[in-house]
């Protein structure tokens, strides 16, 4: 091939890559535009004050995001309360204590959790975890916030474990050696030196796990009971923003207030998730710098 043709191929490839890049950006911008233009149409009908302060989501009359938002956070925070300690300790165990043979077995297994489809996890929630919780707490209905939290915790676990592990591994060996040489044991070194030093990375892990939990739809739709009222506890049924959109979008009449309302709650969720993910990325980047 002579160099002239090679240059031609080169510029053609450049064009393709450029095109792909622009397409992605255009798609993003398009989604952004769609969400926010429709949200604005919603706020022409309903005042933001009602939207953010009311207590009822009733698609004919009341459009307050509060019950959905509280449900969403209740489930997501619950899942983090379960997944963060478990994930961080698993990561610490894997990188600091486990023999190499166990590491090579456990790591892929944990990563495989991420490959389970959310509908399968939701199914497990309905037939297994939910009934189990109902029995455990002596209640009628196991399809509640706690059930969603447990399932989301399982789903967020791979993210949290693998990022926490990166964070822990990025702590220089010299810190651990300093601690051991002073006569600290493994636990003291882990809890007083390694984990504090890995803290920014652990925050990144939590944020990205939380982002995953907030955006998850199918599992919570199936497993949390779908009651759009402000929950008073973990054992109440809830309905998250994502589940609401998934349930109502199929039936809503086109271009009604209700229709726009679904865009508005999606837009808000988008903003929240974006802020959380950016925070996570910010800390993850600090981790990479620490590494170099």
């Amino acid at each position: 091939m002579n160099s002239r043709t090679r240059e031609k191929i080169d510029s053609l490839l450049k064009l393709i890559f450029k095109g792909a890049g622009f397409l992605t950006i255009t798609l993003l911008a398009g989604i952004f535009f769609l969400l926010f233009s429709n949200s604005i149409l919603f706020f022409l009908d309903v005042s933001p004050l009602d939207f953010f302060t009311g207590s009822q989501w009733d698609p004919d009359t009341h459009f307050s995001i509060i019950p959905l938002l509280v449900s969403t956070f209740w489930v997501a925070i619950g899942s983090m309360l379960l997944a963060v300690p478990l994930g961080v300790l698993t990561a610490a165990y894997l990188s600091e204590m486990a023999p190499r043979s166990l590491q090579t077995v456990l790591k892929p297994i944990i990563e495989m959790l991420a490959a389970i489809p959310s509908v399968a996890i939701g199914f497990l929630g309905i037939v297994l975890v939910g009934p189990g919780l109902a029995q455990l707490f002596g209640i009628q209905n196991g399809l509640n916030a706690l059930n969603g939290s447990v399932l989301l915790a399982v789903m967020a676990l791979p993210t949290i474990v693998s990022i926490s592990e990166d964070a822990i591994n990025a702590v220089p060996k010299s810190h651990r050696e300093a601690s051991f040489a002073l006569g600290a044991n493994k636990w003291e070194t882990l809890f007083k030196v390694t984990i504090p030093a890995a803290f920014p990375g652990l925050i990144a892990a939590v944020m990205l796990g939380l982002g995953r939990a907030l955006g998850e739809t199918m599992t919570v739709l199936m497993a949390t009971g779908n009651s759009a009222a402000i929950p008073r506890g973990f054992l109440d049924s809830v309905r998250t923003i994502t589940a609401t959109i998934a349930i109502e979008m199929g039936e809503v009449p086109y271009q009604t207030t209700h229709y726009f309302a679904l865009f508005a709650i999606a837009g808000l969720l988008f903003l929240i998730t974006m802020v959380i993910n950016l925070t996570g990325e910010f800390f993850a980047n600090r981790l990479r710098k620490f590494d170099a």
Binding site: P172, S174, E177, A181, L182, G183
Partner: protein, 251 residues
């Protein structure tokens, strides 16, 4: 007759299948500075680290032979490794302050060994004075230790070791990352520390070994080739390898 503080008897050490230390027997006299010299990779750090059992952390290290701190068998399963490390402190090649404040770098060591809370500030002050660092940091003990200069960081690491009142301090090329002025300070410090501690120091710097040590061991390919007083090693070495190394012909 000098009193022996720390010794190894017929020590063999392997990383995996590779033998790094070969039948090493050596005894370090109390309250003296013993320097370990020898070309890179000959096993100086490995020997040093076997005394405070740092090799416990590498699963593929295998140790044969005996090591003693006075009468204490360092590898006897009955003896606590954390106690051993408290009695045999270590200063590393690259200053490695913990990512905590100056004060916390020392209080960490004390807390681990359950020193009473009220005694901690005084012990820290004394250790920082003893390590020639107090005057430079006394007004900023809360400052992150990593903000100190390299030489100050290394003196902090020495203070952190000293604060536990160990019997032996192992130093692995403590000045190799430092400028000449900081190096001089550390050498003066070592000179003073030997009144209270037994010091074993690895160094690449022949002048440094001559300046600070009472005895010198020359190692080559995992063996102790010659071990004698500083004067003998540098003025009158018996072994030809030692002569050539001292003369700068390899290394």
């Amino acid at each position: 007759m000098e009193e022996i503080k720390l010794r190894a008897e017929n020590l063999n050490l392997y990383f995996g299948k590779k033998q790094i230390l070969k039948n090493v027997s050596i005894a370090f006299p109390k309250n003296q500075v013993t320097a370990l010299i020898g070309p890179s990779g000959c096993g100086k750090s490995t020997l040093l680290r076997s005394f405070n059992r740092m090799h416990d952390l590498s699963p593929d290290a295998k140790i044969e032979g005996k090591l003693f701190l006075e009468n204490l068998d360092l590898y006897d399963k009955k003896n606590s490794v954390t106690d051993i490390r408290k009695r045999i402190g270590m200063v590393f090649q690259k200053p490695n302050p913990l990512p905590k404040s100056i004060f916390e770098n020392l209080s960490y060591a004390l807390n681990i060994h359950n020193y009473p809370k009220h005694s901690i500030p005084n012990l820290i002050e004394a250790a920082l004075k003893e390590s020639f660092l107090w005057d430079e940091v006394k007004d900023e003990l809360k400052k992150p230790a990593v903000k100190l200069s390299g030489g100050q960081q290394q003196r902090l690491c020495i203070a952190r070791t000293v604060v536990l009142r160990p019997e032996v301090i192992l130093m692995d090329e403590p000045c190799s990352a430092l400028d000449p002025l900081s190096t001089k300070k550390i050498e003066e410090l070592i000179e003073k520390l030997k009144e209270n501690f037994t010091i074993v120091i690895v160094t690449h710097n022949m002048q440094q070994a001559q300046r600070i040590s009472n005895k010198v061991a020359f190692m080559y390919l995992g063996e102790i080739i010659e071990f004698d007083t500083c004067d003998t090693i540098f003025k009158n070495p018996k072994n030809e390898l030692t002569q050539r190394y001292i003369g700068g012909h390899f290394g």
